[in-house]
Every structure is written in structure tokens, then in C-alpha cells.
């Protein structure tokens, strides 16, 4: 369960067993070699292991001749936003995002602020595997300088993208749970800018995860338990690098994270029609919202890099995933929850609706998510037989590079190996709750048999 996951835009593993200092140094050195020692931004989350990994990364970047701008604890989307504005060759974010304690990851970001594209990423992998690094002497040694004053400019731009005055007038009371992650120190300036009364929980940047870091209805329990008592207008549950969010309504309903992107899609398309990009296992709410606005919806594999690449190709207006994330290319090329929170608040302010009303305006589906622990090599193998079994089991089975999907009139199921964790994920959605649950259970059993 501790295998290192190396991909063209990231390195992920269990600290001390697979994500080791030499692996991190080599990966950072490969990235530095691929950009020939240019300017690089470095940010990290608050995990216990992030400072150590940052030191290992810094040694490699400086030793490869890079000019390193150290952003310290910085949410990945903020780092992505800044990359394009600091004339950098790229950036490197150290953050485990939604993963549990004990894990960490490095994500590579290109000069445009998007996760590193496949071509550049493959160049990094070739260098990583060959060990063909760039060794700087004292003459071309890189350097390191701290960068602290960047969030103001970020908020300035955010206020151009959303109508901050409209939000300010409402004086919303907003609850935010950043799970002790990279977002903690940024909540207050964010709230101040939008005139929010901020109630923050799990907001000590300690790296201790007080709850499951993935924004899910069950991880919103704490926040939902008291939102009524503080007269909160809306609650946001974040992951540890502020790239995913789920909503808690003013009534205390712990909404599925699938609502977040659907609400944002509805809001964006009202103002600016255009192509929307999402993955093949996001709720049908988004399909319905897009067709309601007569917008084209394009689907890709799961993952920020695929969404953003397609979004750029299609010149789309919005991208995102059902796991609770969205990217607005006119703002930046990263999944960004500050942006999402601002747009959801803007939607509330603009329509005069409460959070619960925003959700009720969306078509009603029931979505069930299961996961089964599974080693990566076993997962790929198992997926083949699962696909065979499923074609006996139902009509309309579609196989792709990203798992297996079956569609019915009332819903769908999708089974795929996770790219980031040692898991097989099962998602089932239907207009009928029982049916969604039954299908998910049946497939989970099938997966269990195969494993």
C-alpha cells in the first residue's frame, strides 16, 4: 500500500517508505533540468512532512541553477495563479491535497500555471529515469528568496472576476473548514475582501488532520452541527490544498461535493455561454445544467491536467469535476476553491437565494461513491476482468482508458482505478436512491470477487 506513484505531473507516496528524500531530490532535479534551471515558484501545504520535502526540493533546484521563489505555505491554486504572473518557467507544489496523514505529493506546474502538460511531463520522467541532471557549479548555482506578499494581487484579480461589491453588501456569515491545511492563513484576508463574517474551524495551520481531508458530506459533520447556531448563510468544507470544496447549507444540510461544480456551472453559464469541460464520472446534474443553458459539455478522463488541457483546446469557459473543483480559464488554469467560494457567494447575492435554494434549483440525483483498497498493478489487471463480467451483467458497457462506465435511462455507474491512491473507485448515480445504492453494492461485490 506504500507504492510510489510517479506521473508526468507529480510524484506521490508514503513519507519515509516510498516518498523518500532521494526520490524527491531526483524528481525535483529532473524538473529543474527540463526547464534548464529557470525561475521556479515553490509552495507547500502544512503537512508535517512538507517542510522536509521542501528542503529536499530546494537543494535540488538550487543545485540545478534555478532561481527559487519560496512562497512558503501556499494553496496550490494560489501558486498556480502566481506562476503565470511571476514570469516563471514553472512551479512545484508540495501538498497531499485530499490524501490522509502520512502521505505527501509533489505536483509540477508549467509556466502557464496549469499542471505540467504531457509532453513536458514526459521529458521530466525521461530525465528522472536516466538521472541526467543539471549540476550547477558555484558559478551558476541557483538562489532562493522568500516571497510573502502575493495574496493581495491574487484577491485584486479575483475581485475583477466576481462582483465583490454585490457580495459585500450582503454581509454573509460564512463558515469555512480548511482542515488545518494550506488555506488557513488565507481565510481572513479572503473574508475581509468580500465583507464576510468568517467562522473558521480546523483553521490552525498545524498539519494535523482533524477530519478526513476529502470534502464529502461525512467530513462536513462538524461544520454542519452548528451552522444554525451561528446564523451561518453557507459553509464550505475544503481539502488541504484548497482545490476541492463541498457545501453546507444554512439549514445544516451536508450537500454532496457533486453540487459544488454544478452550482458554479449554472452560475457561469447564466452570464457567459460557452463550452464546459468535465470528466466522465461527474454527476448528471452538470449535463442537465449545461443543456438547460444550451451549452456544449465535453468530457475527459478524470484529473485536473486532462480537464485543463481539454479546456484550453476547446477554448472553454469553465472546467471542473464532481469531486468539488472548478477552473475558470479567464482567471487561472488551476482548480481553485477561493474562486469557487466567491462565485457561489456571487450567485447567492445576485439571485437573492439562500444556499439551500441554490441546491434545490438543481435537478435531483442520488450519487453513491464506494472505494476498494487495491494495489496499482492488481487494479489494472482486475479492471480487465471486471469489464468482461460487466458486459455479461448489463448492456451499454463502455470501456475506456479511464475505467468502465454503464449508462441507463435513470443513471449510470463508473468503475476506475484511482490515479492518486491505491484504490478502485465505484460511483453510481440515479434519480432513484435505492437503485443507485443497489448498483453500487452489486459492483462493489464484483470488484471484491476480482480482488
Amino acid at each position: 500500500m506504500k507504492t510510489l506513484r510517479v506521473s508526468s505531473f507529480g510524484l506521490r507516496g508514503h513519507v519515509g517508505t516510498s516518498l523518500t528524500v532521494p526520490a524527491v531530490q531526483d524528481y525535483a532535479a529532473a524538473f529543474a533540468a527540463s526547464i534548464e534551471g529557470g525561475r521556479v515558484l515553490l509552495g507547500r501545504d502544512t503537512r508535517y512532512s512538507s517542510p522536509m520535502i521542501a528542503s529536499a526540493v530546494k537543494s535540488s533546484l538550487i543545485g540545478s541553477g534555478c532561481e527559487v521563489l519560496d512562497f512558503g505555505v501556499c494553496p496550490t491554486p494560489v501558486l498556480q495563479f502566481c506562476t503565470a504572473r511571476h514570469a516563471a518557467e514553472g512551479a512545484l507544489s508540495i501538498s497531499a491535497g485530499h490524501m490522509g496523514m502520512g502521505w505527501n505529493a509533489i505536483t509540477l506546474i508549467g509556466g502557464d500555471g496549469a499542471f505540467l502538460d504531457t509532453n513536458s511531463g514526459e521529458a521530466v520522467l525521461d530525465l528522472f529515469h536516466s538521472g541526467d541532471f543539471r549540476k550547477a557549479t558555484f558559478k551558476n548555482q541557483g538562489c532562493l528568496s522568500a516571497c510573502t506578499d502575493y495574496f493581495g494581487a491574487y484577491l485584486d484579480r479575483l475581485c475583477e472576476v466576481v462582483e465583490s461589491e454585490e457580495i459585500r453588501k450582503k454581509e454573509y456569515t460564512v463558515l469555512i473548514d480548511p482542515v488545518g491545511g494550506a488555506g488557513c492563513a488565507f481565510l481572513k484576508p479572503f473574508a475581509d475582501r468580500f465583507g464576510l463574517k468568517l467562522v473558521a474551524v480546523n483553521a490552525e495551520p498545524s498539519g494535523y488532520l482533524a477530519r478526513e481531508p476529502e470534502p464529502r458530506p461525512r467530513s462536513a459533520q462538524h461544520l454542519a452541527s452548528f451552522i444554525k447556531h451561528v446564523d451561518g448563510d453557507i459553509g464550505f468544507v475544503l481539502n488541504s490544498d484548497v482545490a476541492r470544496v463541498s457545501i453546507v447549507t444554512e439549514e445544516g444540510e451536508q450537500a454532496s461535493e457533486e453540487y459544488s461544480f454544478a452550482v458554479v456551472t449554472d452560475h457561469v453559464l447564466q452570464r457567459r455561454p460557452g463550452v464546459v469541460v468535465t470528466n466522465s464520472c461527474t454527476s448528471r446534474m452538470v449535463d442537465d445544467v449545461a443543456s438547460r443553458h444550451r451549452a456544449q459539455l465535453v468530457k475527459t478522463r478524470v484529473g485536473q491536467s486532462y480537464i485543463v488541457a481539454k479546456l484550453t483546446d476547446e477554448d472553454g469557459v469553465l472546467g471542473g469535476e464532481g469531486s468539488g473543483s472548478a477552473v475558470l480559464p479567464s482567471f487561472s488554469l488551476g482548480f481553485d476553491c477561493f474562486l469557487m467560494m466567491a462565485m457561489i457567494l456571487e450567485s447567492m447575492a445576485h439571485s437573492g437565494r439562500m444556499a439551500s435554494e441554490l441546491l434545490r434549483a438543481l435537478p435531483k440525483y442520488h450519487i453513491i461513491k464506494h472505494r476498494r483498497p487495491c494495489d496499482a498493478h492488481a487494479a489494472y489487471h482486475a479492471m480487465d476482468s471486471i469489464a468482461d463480467r460487466l458486459s455479461e451483467w448489463a448492456d451499454g458497457v463502455k470501456e475506456s482508458s479511464d475505467g468502465v462506465r454503464i449508462d441507463w435511462e435513470d443513471g449510470w455507474v463508473h468503475v476506475r482505478p484511482s490515479q492518486t491512491e491505491q484504490l478502485i473507485r465505484i460511483i453510481s448515480e440515479s434519480t432513484d436512491r435505492d437503485r443507485a445504492e443497489r448498483r453500487a453494492e452489486d459492483i462493489a461485490k464484483l470488484v471484491d470477487q476480482e480482488l
Binding site: 532521494p22 531526483d26 512532512s49 529536499a56 537543494s59 543545485g63 558555484f138
Partner: protein
Amino acid sequence: MREALKVGISGVRGVVGQSFTPQLAASFAQAFGMYTGKGTVVIGRDTRPTGRMVEEAVIAGLQSVGNKPLIAGVVPTPTILYLTRALGASGGIAITASHNDVEWNALKFVGRDGMFLRPSEADELFDIYHQQDFPCVEEHELRRVAEIENPMQGHLDRVVEYVSETAIRAGNFRVAVDCCNGVGAIHSVPFLRDRMGCEVYSIHDQPHGRFERPPEPVPQNLDALGHTVREHECAVGFAQDPDGDRLALLDETGTPIGEDLTLALAVRQVLASHARGQIVANQSASKVIDHVAAEKKCDVLRTKTGEIYVSEKMMEIGAVAGGESNGGVIVPAVHPCRDSYTAMALVLELMAESGRSIASLRADLPKYELLKQKIPIRPSQAPGVLRAVRRHYESQKLDLMDGIYVDFGDSWLHIRRSNTEPILRIMTEAPSRAAVDKLAQEARAIIEASLK
């Protein structure tokens, strides 16, 4: 040819961009972390442009195996040694290639007693390193980095307490200091001005590590300091090396008196005003020191070359002072390591208490000519060369403790492999220039013949 990596009792040393990589530094830090156990480790560095890279690698390496790094920042090597003991740390790592040129950097390993690892300890460390099996701790066991506040304070307080501050301040000395763009560029002017009450003129005092003079404080590298001494009519010129452990002196005319005489003057002052007792020096330290000690009826013990051999012997016999011919002065009452700050304070105290100038103090010392030469040599050639030299001097009084030391009574010849570079060092001392040249030429001829 150049051997770009050297692992030995002086640590791990290499050319950055060739053999000395961030990966290598992290890996040695992991080995050292395992060697010390999961305790705290003091990390300090000199001003080299590659220092920050090495520091980050060392931090990551230490943390990964469960150690807690304590960051001292850019400080002299003696301060790192002092802090390791004073803070009760499990060990220390000094990131400095000392007197090597700017393209080099190194890790020097410090034990919990605040002394460099002894050879047997260094062997254990290298054994751990070569096994390349470093069990890393999991995330929840990682220990956070801490910075040491006012890292210089304790060390310099101790130096100031050791000497007579009142006497030195009353001297109102005007001094010049050449910081070699090293740690002294940050710490020496405040020390001399604020703690010793001197009027200070400094050169090479930007701490950028791109040494504006060759880093060894030998006479041929100190013209600029001589000029500063004369221009501002200073009483003394102090020349440091990049990591602040060695010191050379210039007299009031701006003339270098030779870095080997720093030890002689410092020992003279210790014996005169602080304590009587045994003195320890390495084999190739000038015979001048024997005369200085004899005046106070004290003995000089000789050791192999290498700071740790000298300081270890000093601790073993309870010596009061000692050091090396390269300008390294050790006073155990301050801390048992080479320290240019202790040396500067002792020289100022000597001037203050004797009321005499450096030139006149120098004139007291017996005249010897010391000649140091080096010949590049491949490691494989060294044993054959040393055998040839030994055969040639078979009939003389030989000491084979460290290379070959030939004692001719009032002159001597010492040939040994460097601990830090792929070279053979040839050192000769005799009462006259002619005699020393003759000895050196003879030695060179033997070596060159055996290399053919």
C-alpha cells in the same frame, strides 16, 4: 587529474557540480543522523554560494531519519563546534570547505562533545554511509527544524570572558581585518569593534563567498591587508580564512609574520597570563613553539596533522594551548577547537599587556625559515613515493607517525599526503633560507625521481 571527492577524517569534501551533489549531501546527512541517533543536530555553514543548497539537503536528510535540525546559519566553524556541546546536541554538521577554493564544499561532522569525529568514529559513520540502508521515519515522527537565536553570543561571550577585556579596551587599538568574504565578513567587525573596543578597518568584508583573495591566509595572499594596515596606521592586521578557524597576523608595517607564528604568539600569551601547562602541536608546526614553551619550562607534544588529532591529545593530557602551523590556535578553556576569535583576542591581550608592537614581539622569537610546498599526486602513486623518501633518509632520525618526518636537529623535513586534497605536502624548516631551500630541493628531487 583531479579527484573531485575526498572522504576522510576531515569529512566529505568535493567540487560542487561534479561529485558533490545535493543527493550526496542528503545521503551523508542521513548516515550521520543514524550515527548520532534521533537527537538534535546543529547545522552551520560558511558563506560559499553553494552553502544554501547543501544546507537544505542536510536538513532534509537529517529530518528523514528522525533528527531535529538546529539551524545556526552562517557562522564560524568554531561556533558550530561550541554550539554542539553548549546546546547538548547529539552532533553537528559544519558546511564548509575551510581554506579550499570556492568551487569546493564539504561536510564536517561534529560529535556530541563538540569536537570533530575521531578517526574511529568517522570510520563508523562511513561504514553506515556505505551500507546505504537508512530506515526513514514516518510522517508523524518527523521533528521540526528550529533556528538558534543569537548563535554567536555564547561562543564570543566565552572568548571575551577568557581574556582581560579591560586591558584590551584600554589599548584602544586600531586594527585591520581581512575577512576573505567568509563568515568573518558578518561577525568579525562587530566582535573587534563592540566586544574588543577596537577601531576597525575591514577588507573583503562582503559575505558573498566569492573569495576576492585566495582563501589560505598565507603571506603571498595578504598584500591588500598590508596596504590597509599601512594606510590607516593600524597596530595589527588580522587575516582570516573563509570559515573563521585560522588566523594570520600582519605587523604594524603591514608585513605578514607568517601564519605559523600566530600559534607561537598565542601560546606565549596563554603561558604568560592564563595558565602554565603542556602544549600540543602537529608535527609540522614550527620549532619556534618549542622555544616559546621552553622559556616557561613547558613541554610541547607533537601529533599527526589534522585538527582532531591535536585537540584529542590536548583533552587527553589536559594541555593549556595548542594548534597547528596553518594559523589554527586552540585554547581548551574556551573550546577545544581552532578558533580565530580566540586567537585575535589573545594577540590583542598580548599587545595590551606587553605594551609592545607585533614587529617587536616577532623579533623576540627565534628565526626559522619554514617552507611549504605541494605536489599533485594520484592516490595510487603516494605509497611508492613515500617508500622512496623513507629509504633515502634511512640513516636519519625518522618518525613515521604521519607520513615521513626527518629530524635533523635544528632543521626538519616532513612529507605527507594531504587529508583534504589529492596532493603531497612537503614542509621543511631550518634556521636559514639557504639551508631550507637545500633541504626542499633534495626532497623534491627524490620525489620526482620516484614518480618517473
